[in-house]
């Protein structure tokens, strides 16, 4: 009984942890790929499953490129801002 409670607490804690960040995209794709591979090996895979995995991979790539672009923009904005912090006073008419 105690063990059960312990396990269920751990599970709840784990689930709560996941809920905070949401499932990872890569994890979801890997898991889908594995399941598809099994179904395929058994010869029972459905018509569109494979292309769904491909789509997921492509979208993930796109997501990463968007995220990288956003990170680049924010980094550049911060770097430029630091640069202009030093130079703006020289522009004030005297």
């Amino acid at each position: 009984m105690k063990k059960l409670i312990l396990i269920s607490t751990i599970t709840v804690a784990f689930l709560a942890g996941c809920a905070g960040t949401g499932p990872s995209v890569n994890g979801a794709i890997q898991s889908a790929q594995k399941k598809y591979n099994q179904a395929h090996k058994e010869g029972v895979a459905w018509q569109h499953t494979k292309s769904l995995v491909t789509k997921a991979k492509k979208a993930a790539k796109e997501a990463i490129s968007y995220a990288n672009k956003a990170a680049y923009e924010a980094d550049t904005a911060m770097a430029q801002s630091a640069e202009y912090d030093k130079t703006w006073r020289a522009q004030v008419p005297r």
């Binding site: 672009k69 680049y72 923009e73 550049t76 130079t87 020289a90 522009q91």
Partner: protein, 122 residues
């Protein structure tokens, strides 16, 4: 003998063909460069510049210099000027649109091709 002649002829024809496609792609690049130059959502360069031998750009601004004689400059110089003008003129009003990734490397190459083709000293 006949064979060699044939081979030479084929070679010449294919060389011609290659140079035609080269000229074609260069022309396309110049055309694309002009589009980047005049399109607001792309380079929007006309907001500040007129161009020496392309007087028909409508509603060009006059904040930057009239772009002239750029065929006498190295390609790199013009590329870098467009990519990040702050490098050579700190605090310039000209936007660093390459560095900001607002336009791509290829688009800057196209701008360089367009500018060198249309700003030749007469």
């Amino acid at each position: 003998m006949i064979n060699t002649k044939k081979i030479v002829a084929v070679a010449i024809i294919s060389m011609l063909g290659a140079s035609v496609t080269y000229a074609q792609s260069q022309q396309d690049l110049v055309k694309e460069g002009r589009k980047v130059f005049v399109t607001k959502k792309l380079g929007n360069c006309l907001a500040c510049h007129t161009v020496q031998n392309d007087p028909n750009i409508p509603q060009a601004g006059n904040i930057g210099p009239k772009l002239s004689n750029l065929d006498t400059y190295p390609k790199d110089y013009i590329f870098n000027k467009i990519w990040d003008p702050n490098k050579t003129v700190p605090n310039t009003i000209m936007p660093p649109q390459g560095r900001s990734h607002k336009i791509s490397k290829h688009q800057v190459d196209a701008l360089v091709a367009y500018l060198q083709a249309t700003t030749k000293a007469k």
